[in-house]
């Protein structure tokens, strides 16, 4: 997953050089000789496809039309109407919304907990802990699925084996409609919490110690320093992690693909999984419409997060 916080980067723009006179033709030639290799690839493999996807979403393009595009018709917003009228899409949208609404706070609070604990306690082995907590983030989802399917297996899984030892009859985690989505949420939180931890840890370590000393002198008790110093100063980090985690989780797909194939009974079907299925069926216009709906959802949620979490002035 790749994502970044656009504002973060643009805010950090090194102060633009005082606008000199317009670049000469030679400067422009030299500049473009550096920019062109990237830009050409960028137009072909990123910007172009983004635009084509938008246009496709307004047509009835199917896989069979790709080689002879004359049979393709503009259908306006029909695909979008189809998307919202499709019960499968609605089911997928609800699943994805649950995944995001539960998964993002869960992942972030576990990451924050780990960061605060590491910042307070371990000094000598901090590096080992940091690595251990981060390892799942850089591990292939396919490898993780192998182990987690083994852990969560209904009859011979390790988790149910352990539950059995204490006399609990564990459920069929991945094949019961009640437990499949929650299981994937827990797995995603486990896989991704290391990312929040690293960012929060860096932010925590940049908070000057004097602040806590001053608070102690003023008689701050127990949770007060955390509530009134740590949390407010973590705000930018929280925004950063929230946006990136949300963007990733809205595109929730590989987990159900490798763990449950979207089942049982579509209980782990996500929006992107639905788009992928329609892509496999060759319904390209519809697929493009679904992916643009996701794009808008991501933009909206990010906007809301920015409004909620922007630094107080």
């Amino acid at each position: 997953m790749t994502a970044a916080l656009a504002t973060e980067t643009s805010a950090a723009t090194p102060t633009a050089p005082p606008r000199r006179s317009r670049p000469t033709r030679k400067q422009t030639l030299v500049g473009w000789s550096f920019a062109l290799p990237f830009f050409a690839m960028f137009v072909v493999f990123m910007a172009g496809p983004i635009l084509i996807s938008l246009i496709t979403s307004l047509t009835d393009l199917r896989v069979t039309d790709v080689r002879s595009p004359f049979g393709v018709n503009f259908v306006g917003l029909d695909n979008y109407a189809d998307v919202f009228g499709d019960p499968k899409f609605r089911k997928a949208a609800v699943n994805t919304a649950i995944f995001v609404a539960v998964g993002v706070p869960l992942t972030m609070s576990l990451g924050l907990l780990a960061a605060v604990a590491l910042n307070q306690g371990v000094v000598k082995f901090r590096r080992v802990f940091r690595l251990g907590f981060y390892l799942p983030v850089v591990t292939s989802i396919v490898a993780i699925a192998v182990v987690w399917r083994f852990l969560l297996g209904a009859d011979s899984g390790l988790v149910n084996g352990l539950l059995d030892q204490v006399g609990i009859d564990g459920p069929a985690w991945l094949t019961d409609t009640k437990y499949a989505l929650p299981s994937l949420i827990v797995m995603a939180a486990w896989k991704n919490l290391g990312f929040s931890m690293i960012v929060f840890l860096a932010a925590l370590q940049s908070i000057p110690v004097d602040l806590y000393e001053a608070a102690a002198v003023d008689g701050a008790k127990r949770w007060q320093p955390f509530r009134y110093i740590t949390l407010p100063l973590l705000r930018p980090a929280v925004l950063f992690v929230a946006v990136i985690t949300t963007i990733g989780y809205v595109q929730f797909f590989e987990e159900p693909l490798v763990m449950t194939q979207g089942g049982p009974l579509d209980s782990t079907l996500s929006v992107q999984y639905h788009a992928y299925n329609e892509f496999s069926f060759g319904n390209y216009g519809y697929t493009a419409a679904v992916s643009y709906v996701m794009f808008v959802a991501i933009a909206l949620v990010s906007f809301i997060l920015f409004r909620l979490l922007r630094p107080k002035t």
């Binding site: 790749t2 656009a6 790709v66 390892l135 690293i198």
Partner: protein
């Protein structure tokens, strides 16, 4: 903002205060609790990897045993033999490596070139390039997935290494990372070289790139890992077995004929993860810096 986000190690925020009112005891208990919690957390985080690695030396029968064993009762290399004899794992390993290396080299070169142009050169159209690249950051990968597939198949690149590599040789995040880092190089340094008659390419390759080593290392490791772990695109583009990458091969054989051979799957997963773990331990400093600056994972 500079690259060094990871602060110097360890400033304990509250040194245990030796107070005569018995608070030190409470403190110590808290610290014990904290460490117990952290160790428990660590076990939960790396436990699955340990289970995977140990499981790869067991038989499926032993893995299914109740109660489960921790260490293999009778360690066997049969799973690894199977992987390499029956499944042509060296081939998948080769594919994964070639693709990841090519994607990494492409990103390093193209992103640093554009990063240099955006940070240090003036040219007509610079602003448009910057805004366009910036604008794609929030676009989810699924938007480009279908058109990319159509494009690659029209170019006749389905089931080729080029088809696996080309769509990923440029990335917006790499540009921002490099632009940010190169922006921190003093102009005087470059101007001095210009006065000495150095051309922009000499400056770029002889001065800028060597100074960018930390940023390049970060970009390299993150790009490599991203490509190594990527799953969906190779799953769709690699249609015959000889083009599979490691994750595709492992995913397909674990839902196919070997669905019930858990031990074999564990061995396959271990082969996928092992290079990542080694790279990760060797390059952790750059990974941690990169995450904190850019949010690439």
């Amino acid at each position: 903002m500079t690259m060094t986000v990871t602060p110097p190690a360890a400033t304990p925020t509250d040194p245990p205060a030796e107070m005569p009112d018995g608070r030190v005891v409470g403190r110590r208990n808290n610290r014990v609790l904290l460490h117990v919690g952290l160790v428990a957390g660590l076990i939960l985080m790396i436990g699955p990897f340990v289970i995977m690695a140990l499981g790869s030396f067991k038989t499926t029968g032993e893995l299914r045993q109740v109660p489960p064993t921790f260490l293999p009762e009778d360690p066997t290399l049969a799973n690894y033999r199977d992987l390499f004899d029956r499944l042509d794992f060296p081939r998948y390993f080769f594919n994964s490596t070639v693709v990841a290396l090519a994607v990494t080299v492409g990103n390093l070169l193209f992103c640093s070139m554009l990063g240099y142009a955006l940070a240090k050169l003036e040219f007509a159209g610079k602003r448009i390039v910057f805004v366009l690249v910036l604008a794609t950051l929030m676009v989810p990968a699924s938007v480009t997935f279908m058109p990319l597939f159509v494009l690659i198949s029209n170019m006749g690149l389905v089931n080729t290494h080029a088809g696996l590599i080309l769509p990923f040789v440029v990335g917006a995040l790499g540009v921002f990372l490099m632009r940010q880092f190169i922006g921190g190089i003093p102009d005087e340094l470059l101007d001095a070289a210009r006065v000495d008659g150095a051309g922009e390419y000499t400056i770029f390759f002889k001065i800028v790139l060597p100074l960018c080593r930390p940023a390049l290392a970060t970009l390299a490791i993150l790009t490599f890992l991203g490509s190594w772990n990527s799953f969906l695109w190779p799953l769709v583009v690699a249609s015959t077995e000889d083009m599979y990458t490691l994750p595709v091969a492992v995913a397909l054989f674990s839902i196919g004929q070997n669905e019930n051979n858990v031990a074999l799957q564990m061995a396959g997963a271990t082969v996928v993860v092992l290079p990542v773990v080694i790279l990760f331990f060797a390059m952790q400093r750059y990974i941690i810096q990169g995450i904190a600056t850019t949010g690439i994972k």
